[in-house]
Amino acid sequence: MSAPTPKITVSNLTMAFGSYLVMQELSFTVNRGDIFIIMGGSGCGKSTLLRHLVGLQRPTAGTVLYEGSRTGFWEMAPEEREPVMRRFGMLFQSGALWSSLTLAENIALPLREYTRLSAADIRDLASLKLALVGLSGFEEYYPSEISGGMKKRAGLARAMALDPDILFFDEPSAGLDPISSRLLDDLILELRDSLGATIVVVTHELASLFAIGSNSVFLDPVSKRMIASGCPKQLLAESEDPRVLGFLTRGEDGLTTP
């Protein structure tokens, strides 16, 4: 493989809500074609980090630099920022489906806004995306009429609507059964291998993060810093840090079969 191209470069990022510090001095690089895992205990700031990466929240300090732009994301003018943001797809932790639209309309909305495809093509694309997440037949359902795991998958389908360059998934497999969760991993790998997407995933699912992750950061809520980074499998094999090992082995030290 040739030298990796950095897709997202985060340097010295500090995140805070007012005076409440969430994380400080995060520096890492997401390369093109990575499946980048963000790990850490509950409440340590993983979702907040995603919000900083996609441009929903302004960093307290530090920069987020995207491939192809010369200045940091937040130093750009808003009209420069928009084309960068259009290359993103985001799955929110709570799904964040538009509750007054059906699933098909949820996926069709970005397509209708940003492409010149015909209504029939858009409908076919929406059905395809739903089929990819195992929801074919549910096009005409409203978000309130489907289960929690189905909402998650529908949110994923919406994130993929525009075949984005960079996908951000916040706990995609939470609330899914093992089989669906496995299929989802296959889908994520396929999105990278076939469609060339770069994917940033927040996940706690050990099986899945070992299966798909090619790079990662580990956030520690106590020191409020990142304490490890690298391929999850390598971290498990090489890390000396008890916090990281504890997380990757569910606290059962010694059981190290990825």
Binding site: W98, D121, L125, L128, G134, G137, P143, L162, D186, D193
Partner: protein, 384 residues
């Protein structure tokens, strides 16, 4: 997907070619991205329908530059058509990624009975549905009123559970919070009444009677009605939106599973608060309205202040004041009931919250006006 940024990608194209051995070859070329208008599957479907039916379908993707999901939808369509006609597909010519994604797209079969057909039911069925749902809505409303009444009884027996701090917060929000706008609106209504009256009464030289007109008008009807309409728009709407959002987030269900009746916990404090605050707001609106009339009387009609005051005191009887205050209490209950009812029976979506809020305000105002008419007629019959 090959990233070829250096050269401008060719436009995407689809060619259909009949092979000598009876098969059909589809040649895909160019960049199949969503920003292009994609070739339609029509020509392939036509070829498939033509006699003799092709013996197989094969692909040539040698010239395919890059592709996105538009290609997949086209292939899925062709595959569906092929399988219904029994034409075998030879996918070897397709890129690996395309084949794997197509497999994934069909990995989970469609759940039986899940799909809904979008056909509209016939006219008579729709009329019947609408009638039944209207009737159900009426029943629901009556049910709600009954429940609210029972909850009121529970309150007097000391068995209703709600948080006192919630109640006080609502009192503050709907009482003190409405002060500014009630002052402004009632003062202006008083002014307007006095103006309109003054022009007519001046013709008879009876401008002093502006005091009677404004006094009785404000105290008996307009004070209560204006306060009622303002509170409907402010507080009734906020009740509906708040309870509606709680319904959307399953917060009301969470209360129910804990054995806390939403009626007692959510509706009762709101009803109580409005029932207590509305008379106070009404009295305040009366005062401001009379003040508006006073301003016109003193500064425009040159009535001496003391005389205006005495004339007002003489005109307004205690009965008028009671009727106004009584009406405003009734309005308070009506506003709280409609606001909470719409909120609690809200659907589970953002637009349903909007609908609930709108209908809370509309129903609230209509019921206020109807109640005013009924009470006014009753008072006339009783003779007070």
């Amino acid at each position: 997907m090959a990233e070829t940024d250096s050269t401008v990608p060719k436009r995407c194209d689809l060619e259909v070619e009949k092979l000598p051995d009876g098969g059909v070859r589809l040649t895909l070329s160019g960049a199949w991205t969503l920003s292009e208008t994609l070739p339609s599957a029509e020509q392939v479907l036509v070829e498939l329908a033509r006699e003799p039916t092709p013996t197989y379908i094969t692909f040539d993707a040698g010239e395919l530059d890059r592709w996105e999901s538009g290609l997949l939808t086209l292939l899925l369509k062709i595959r569906g058509e092929c399988s219904s006609r029994g034409v075998p597909i030879r996918p070897e010519g397709l890129p690996d990624g395309v084949r794997r994604l197509l497999t994934l797209a069909t990995a989970i079969p469609e759940r039986k009975g899940a799909r809904r057909d979008g056909t509209r039911p016939p006219f008579l069925v729709r009329v019947a549905d609408a009638t039944i749902s209207t009737w159900n809505a009426v029943q629901e409303m009556l049910d709600f009123i009954g429940e609210a009444f029972l909850s009121g009884i529970r309150l007097f027996r000391g068995k209703a559970r709600f948080r006192r701090s919630d109640f006080l917060l609502i009192v503050q929000e709907c009482g003190a919070g409405s002060f500014g706008i009630v002052s402004l609106i009632s003062l202006l209504v008083g002014l307007i009444l006095a103006f309109v009256g003054a022009i007519q009464l001046q013709m008879f030289g009876a401008q002093l009677y502006v005091a009677n007109l404004v006094g009785i008008g404000m105290v008996r009807e307009m004070g209560a009605v204006m306060a009622g309409i303002i509170v409907t728009g402010r507080t009734g709407a906020s009740f509906a939106a708040q309870l509606g959002t709680m319904q959307v987030n399953e917060e009301i269900d969470a209360l129910q599973t804990l054995g806390i009746a939403p009626m007692d916990f959510l509706v009762l404090p709101r009803m109580l608060a409005l029932c207590l605050m509305m008379p106070l707001l009404c009295l305040y609106a009366d005062l401001m309205g009379v003040l508006g009339g006073f301003i016109v009387g003193v500064f425009m009609l040159d009535i001496p202040p003391a005389q205006y005051y005495l004339q007002t005191c003489g005109a307004v009887r205690l009965n008028d004041l009671f009727i106004g205050v009584f009406m405003s209490s009734v309005f308070g209950i009506l506003i709280a009931l409609t606001g909470c009812h719409r909120g609690i029976h809200c659907g589970r979506s953002a637009s349903a919250v909007g609908v609930a809020t709108t209908s809370a305000v509309v129903t609230g105002i209509v019921s206020i006006i109807v109640a005013t008419a009924v009470i006014t007629i009753l008072c006339y019959i009783i003779g007070i």
